[in-house]
């Protein structure tokens, strides 16, 4: 989120920069960044001892790879092996798995939002300057309390989001066992961190105009925060929330690899049975899920900015 906003700012200044700077001066930071990227990649290549010839598969593997990719053209519509007669048809199984993937993602985002809200507010500088009027002299103890609240909230956000959701899953499954609720918390904790980071940055970068307008009506600082700042971030917040929901869908699909009934579970089961056409059915199901979410969130964003 913050990146996108930064980008739009940088993008709008491209034109001015072009006009005011000589070509050589402009090129310098970019070409050095590019060379750092290339050098870092070459170091990584050397460190991992990568070999391009490893990408050319052995004769035996070549057939498997060909079989896998040609299965993309005709995904399975029925099971590739015989199943007991009472088994649900494949399309229904795929739909159920997709449904469970959505269920995990939606529950994750609702829990993450509840966890993120207090964190985000405590981690935004605007909030603290709304509660404690910086123009007035405050009690030292109050200031210290506010400062530590801000610092603790920032550190917590960093901690929550820097641990990948699958690492949270490993930790929580070891501690709490294989239950849906521990999986849900594993997903929701890092997403709460990401959401809180985004919200606090949006609050701090909110335009000051509306706040000034609300202040001119004689509103208190807290009212300025609630009615001058919060409504202005609502559109961007929705866009960020939708982006994270898309990411949560993918994460919840991957959680299936840990034994939960989302799409990942069925992908690994079919792949291990060498039923490549079934694998592609599930892959296309994820694709469909992502495409539908993409279209919906695009339509919502368009109507909100219109």
């Amino acid at each position: 989120m913050a990146t996108d906003r930064g980008c739009s700012r940088a993008g709008s200044r491209d034109g001015d920069a072009l006009a005011s700077q000589p070509l050589s001066a402009r090129a310098r930071p970019w070409s050095s960044l590019l060379s750092v990227i290339v050098l870092a990649g070459v170091w990584g290549w050397w460190f991992l001892d990568l070999d391009l010839s490893a990408l050319i598969p052995a004769q035996a593997n070549r057939l498997v790879i060909f079989r896998f990719f040609s299965a993309a053209l005709h995904p399975a519509l029925t099971y590739e092996s015989s199943v007991p007669p009472e088994t649900a048809p494949l399309w229904l199984k795929a739909a159920q798995a997709a449904g469970m993937t959505v269920v995990f993602a939606a529950a994750c985002m609702s829990l993450a939002f509840l966890l993120a809200l207090p964190l985000a507010i405590a981690a935004s500088a605007v909030w603290w300057s709304s509660v404690l009027d910086p123009g007035r002299k405050q009690h030292a103890l109050l200031l210290a309390l506010a400062g530590s609240g801000y610092a603790v909230a920032r550190a917590t956000i960093g901690l929550l989001r820097s641990i990948h959701e699958l690492l949270w899953a490993v930790l929580l499954l070891a501690a709490l066992g294989l239950t849906p609720l521990s999986a849900l918390f594993a997903l929701a904790i890092p997403y709460a961190g990401m959401l809180a980071k985004g919200i606090s940055e949006l609050l701090d970068e909110a335009p000051r105009g509306p706040t000034a307008a609300v202040r001119s009506t004689g509103a208190t600082r807290l009212q300025q925060f609630c009615f001058g700042i919060v409504p202005t971030v609502f559109t961007d917040l929705t866009a960020y929330f939708l982006y994270l929901f898309e990411c949560a869908l993918r994460s919840s699909a991957v959680l299936g690899f840990f034994g939960f009934p989302t799409l990942g579970y069925f992908i690994s089961a079919s792949f291990e049975n060498l039923h490549y056409r079934e694998v592609w059915t599930y892959l296309y199901t994820i694709f469909l899920l992502a495409a539908i979410t993409d279209v919906c969130s695009g339509a919502i964003r368009k109507r909100m900015t219109a």
Partner: protein, 302 residues
């Protein structure tokens, strides 16, 4: 001027409303309310006595093995950590970092090949070559559409699934992780870069064309330098993501951080597992920091 409650009511009633947005908001609320019982998150009592006992046991096993039963000193913990760091930690950390760096390089290069094709302004003949034949125009249009569809497909499939599939097909090496990260993130970076190219200011490009530049020359001398700052911003944004993901891809059996974590988990050496989790978090934080520095350099100079 005083504002009456009556005026406010009129203003409130006249606010812009969208049926579509209301319906989608209600739909999402309904989805959330249904998801809790459907996912089985609310069923039964969660904190049973047995589970609490299990949590307590787990917390006990997080204490380094050598220090259990004796006083836990800072010295002891540091000694345990440095021993693990020398034995495996450093190697695991650097190989995870290396995987993300190579993947980012591959992603960056793939994007340079694919994004110009997906950008509708560049791939359409009308803007740059008014004399192009109708066949060429429609062919470029189809090619651009297919590339966009490919981006959507690549980014729809999570890295972990790509890595799982590539590992099954290519066998164990660092390649499956590198390719999985590169493929998924090309889908994201490619789309963002194609959008950037489409939204470039048209004046410099038109000027170049007016000077008689060919399509390739316009792309190299106009589109490339104009889109570079934004491309780099997105690149670092995606590299952060690559680092975060690369900490777990090893769990599939690719030698890096996740591999040793899974190994410790399988042997129920929870103290060692915790060490790798902390190491992964540290790597992500370092990556975020480096990327933030690079992005601030870009923002200051562009």
């Amino acid at each position: 001027m005083t504002v009456h409650v009556h005026d406010l009511k009129i203003l409130f009633r006249a606010r812009p409303r969208s049926m579509f947005l209301r319906l989608s908001a209600w739909f999402f609320v309904l989805l959330v309310l249904l998801s809790w019982p459907l996912g089985g998150f609310t069923s039964g009592s969660f904190f049973t006595a047995r589970r609490l006992q299990n949590v307590e046991r787990f917390a006990g096993e997080l204490v380094p093995y050598a220090l259990r039963g004796s006083d836990i000193t800072l010295e002891g913990v540091l000694g345990w950590a440095s021993e693990l760091w020398i034995r495996r930690g450093a190697e695991a950390l650097f190989s995870t970092l290396a995987i993300s760096l190579v993947a980012a390089l591959v992603m960056g290069m793939l994007t340079w090949v694919l994004a110009p094709i997906a950008a509708r302004t560049l791939a359409s003949a009308s803007a740059l070559l008014p004399t192009a034949s109708r066949n060429a125009v429609s062919m470029l249009g189809v090619l651009g559409f297919l590339t966009r569809l490919l981006f959507l497909f690549l980014r729809a499939i999570p890295e972990y699934v790509w890595a799982y599939v590539f590992l099954g097909l290519l066998g164990p090496s660092a390649w499956p992780a590198v390719l999985a990260l590169a493929v998924h993130n090309t889908g994201v970076l490619g789309k963002l870069t194609a959008d950037t190219i489409e939204n470039l200011p048209q004046a410099p490009l038109t000027a170049l064309r007016g000077l008689g530049a060919t399509r390739a020359q316009t792309a190299i001398a106009g589109v490339f330098p104009l889109s570079l700052p934004r491309y780099l911003l997105y690149f670092f944004f995606r590299w952060e993501h690559c680092i975060r993901e690369s900490t777990v891809l090893g769990m599939l059996g690719i030698v890096s951080l996740g591999y040793w974590l899974q190994d410790a988990r399988a042997r129920t050496f929870y103290d060692e597992m915790f060490f790798y989790v902390v190491l992964g978090a540290l790597l992500v934080l370092i990556g975020d920091l480096l990327s933030a520095i690079a992005r601030s350099i870009l923002r200051r100079t562009s």
